[in-house]
């Protein structure tokens, strides 16, 4: 068994509380994450990603590997930021893993985030163990992205459950109307 090397990993962190921000930056650094770019709210985060797209040399990063964002921020909150990342034409990477860190853990909130295409959610109060588990999940269990007329995001089906009956799903990989893009 070997250890992950996070040295080449670039994380963008959007968190408006200076205290929590430094806490998270510090935790990620001690875990070995090479680059953590921290910004204060969703607007700054969008601005940062635009710069990554337009002037990567000046920002010093070609690609953000993981986005970690608070939900409740002003003036641009995490949900608007997520929407921009997943849907806006200027987004440098609409497929980037996006994790909310939030004290909103009510089921309807989780559902709302999932429908907007969130990859994972880290609940406050968090521990290092939680952060570690989420990182591993993002690395080891990426999901295919699904694009339909009203959804774009990581597949909302996480588990492959054995189903003891006939396959009645309307579409499969070979159906007409299904396009598979590999890269």
């Amino acid at each position: 068994m070997s250890d992950y090397d996070f040295d080449r990993v670039n994380v963008l962190l959007a968190e408006d509380s200076p205290f929590i921000r430094s806490l998270l930056v510090n935790s990620l650094k001690v875990l070995g994450v090479g680059n953590v770019f921290a910004v204060e709210h969703g607007g700054d985060a969008i601005h940062f990603l635009q710069r990554v797209k337009n002037e990567p040399m000046r920002v010093g990063v070609q690609q953000i590997d993981i986005v970690i964002s608070n939900w409740d921020m002003h003036p641009i909150d995490g949900m608007m930021f997520l929407r921009w990342v997943r849907r806006h034409k200027d987004s440098p990477d609409r497929f980037v893993p996006f994790m909310f860190i939030t004290s909103y853990t009510e089921p309807e909130r989780v559902l709302q985030a999932r429908e907007m295409g969130v990859t994972d959610m880290l609940a406050k109060p968090f521990t290092i163990k939680h952060i570690g588990e989420k990182l591993i999940s993002i690395i080891e269990r990426p999901r295919q992205f699904v694009h339909t007329k009203d959804f774009f995001g990581p597949d909302r089906r996480r588990q492959k459950l054995d189903f003891g009956g006939p396959e009645r799903r309307i579409l499969n990989d070979k159906s007409e109307g299904v396009e598979i893009i590999r890269g």
Partner: protein
């Protein structure tokens, strides 16, 4: 696929580049080094100890804003905005570090300093002070958790102040 048929769903399946980046191409299980996990947990705990100091520094800032509200009534709307911003900063974090009372009190402060039209009365300024007093007592006494009897008393006296002064 027939080009004329409309696409109903697209699936994007990519190579796992993040895994390549962090675990290389070698087969086998990968984990986060135990030492790194322990070091990070220690760093987090160490920083959490600074939480009361951080809150104290914010209470000092709130205190300054409160004094200005008393001295320059014409600037109250502006000052309330700043108070509201600081309260927002505080309210999300208390629970994380074992001080839910700070979250409760700052949430209450946040709630009644939200921007609204009309005059900001002396009573409302007095209410800011009641909140600051309650928060200060929590931090001074290191009243963690729900604070037991002490916590109950603090919440009660703050609620009394709210009942007395809140004329919004």
């Amino acid at each position: 696929m027939d080009k004329n048929k409309p696409v109903i769903v697209r699936f994007y399946r990519f190579k796992n580049r993040l895994k390549e980046k962090t675990a290389g191409l070698a087969p086998g299980n990968t984990s986060i080094s135990k030492e790194a996990m322990e070091a990070a947990q220690q760093a987090l705990s160490k920083m959490s100890e600074d939480y009361p100091d951080w809150v104290s520094s914010l209470i000092v800032k709130l205190q300054e804003q409160h004094s200005r509200c008393v001295d320059t009534p014409e600037k109250r709307h502006e000052l309330f905005e700043e108070i509201n911003r600081i309260a927002h900063d505080m309210k999300g974090q208390g629970g994380t570090f074992g001080y839910p009372l700070i979250t409760a009190f700052s949430d209450s402060l946040y709630g009644f300093t939200v921007k609204r039209p009309g005059e900001i009365t002396d009573n409302q300024i007095e209410l800011v002070k009641s909140h600051l007093d309650a928060m200060r007592a929590v931090i001074r006494g290191r009243v963690a958790g729900d604070g037991g009897e002490m916590g109950e008393k603090l919440s009660e006296s703050l609620n009394e102040a709210i009942a007395k002064y809140d004329d919004s």
